[in-house]
């Protein structure tokens, strides 16, 4: 696997270090000579000094043999052009960093599907931390379209002593796993939820917010059965 990183800022530099630690062949392209020298000295990696949106520079970096290119400069227009070049000229996979969350939609409309917007990711994480209570966001998949959520402990949520199949959860939500006394349980429809269980749900952003709201009210399940 050979990868090319365009942009030698903090993200590009650390990406290069991690990829090399994991044994991948990675080349970095950066415009600033001073940064290039520092990165080359510190990592011992191949660093190309030049504009990563120029064909000559990309060829020098070995784009012909590369499997993937990561565009992680601080400017969205540069990252977009790198991805457009990778797709239309070299037909290799690309991944773009998006600096301004507002541009995410534009990247998608222009055919750049694999993007990461760290600003958005961090903002979501902060939002999840704020009002979490015992419901906590763990991990995002598919660039945030699917998320893993932890409810711990389940006591006082109205979940305990109920079968998994009886839990009143939104349709777009699945109980993925249960941790009980440090043991992993793979839940089936007839698994009973216990008081100190920690349960993991796979869902999406909208349903996560809905579940969290219901937990604050003592659980939708509880309310229904009180009536």
């Amino acid at each position: 696997m050979k990868s090319i990183i365009v942009g030698g800022g903090k993200l590009g530099f650390n990406l290069l270090k991690i990829l090399r630690q994991r044994g991948y062949d990675a080349t970095l392209i950066e415009l600033d000579e001073g940064k290039c020298r520092r990165i080359a000295e510190e990592t011992g990696a191949d660093v190309i000094c030049g504009d990563g949106t120029e064909l000559e520079v990309l060829n020098d970096a070995g784009i012909i043999e590369a499997d993937i290119i990561a565009a992680v400069t601080g400017k969205d227009e540069n990252n977009l052009v790198v991805c457009e070049i990778a797709q239309s000229i070299f037909h290799i996979k690309s991944i773009a960093r998006i600096n301004n969350p507002k541009n995410t939609d534009m990247f998608r409309k222009l055919g750049v599907e694999r993007t990461v917007c760290s600003t958005q990711v961090i903002a979501n994480l902060i939002e999840y931390e704020f009002e979490g209570g015992n419901c906590r966001f763990i991990q995002a998949f598919d660039r945030g379209n699917m998320i893993l959520v932890e409810i711990s402990p389940v006591s006082n949520n109205g979940f305990e002593e109920h079968l998994v199949k009886d839990l009143d959860l939104p349709a777009e939500c699945t109980v993925a796993s249960i941790i009980r006394n440090n043991e992993v349980i793979y839940p089936k429809a007839d698994t009973v939820i216990k008081k100190d269980d920690c349960i993991y749900l796979v869902t999406n952003h909208a349903n996560y917010l809905a579940i969290r709201k219901n937990l604050h009210k003592g659980g939708r399940f509880n309310e229904k059965h009180k009536k």
């Binding site: 504009d51 000559e56 227009e77 977009l80 052009v81 541009n103 534009m106 222009l110």
Partner: protein, 135 residues
Amino acid sequence: MYVIIVGCGRLGCTLAKELSDADYDVSVIDSDARKLDMLGSGFNGLRVKGIEFDVDILKEAGAEQADCVVCATPDDNINITAALVAKKIFNTPQIVARINEPKKKAIYDSLEIETINPTEISAFILKSRIEENRR
């Protein structure tokens, strides 16, 4: 005929005034308000300050009705991005971009963006002037 000019440098500004004087509907986008001031009080087109390739900014400049978008900033990547947004999001009938770094022509070509290369044109004109003098 409605023309949007992206980038109000010497080229964009001159073109905007020319087109406006010739009774075209013109709007000009630049992220630098001082550049837009270069258009002067005589310019009666629309001035929009903002990120040149931003979808909302282009919309504000009238990209949904525009017959032509000219990308004339001094940054090739901004020109390419703005041209792609005009082409793929607004389906603008005619798009012309200015090439700054002649090496990047191949990139514009592969993305099917029509270009002009002022450096090449100036060099060509200068060369023919020099040749004229030699005769």
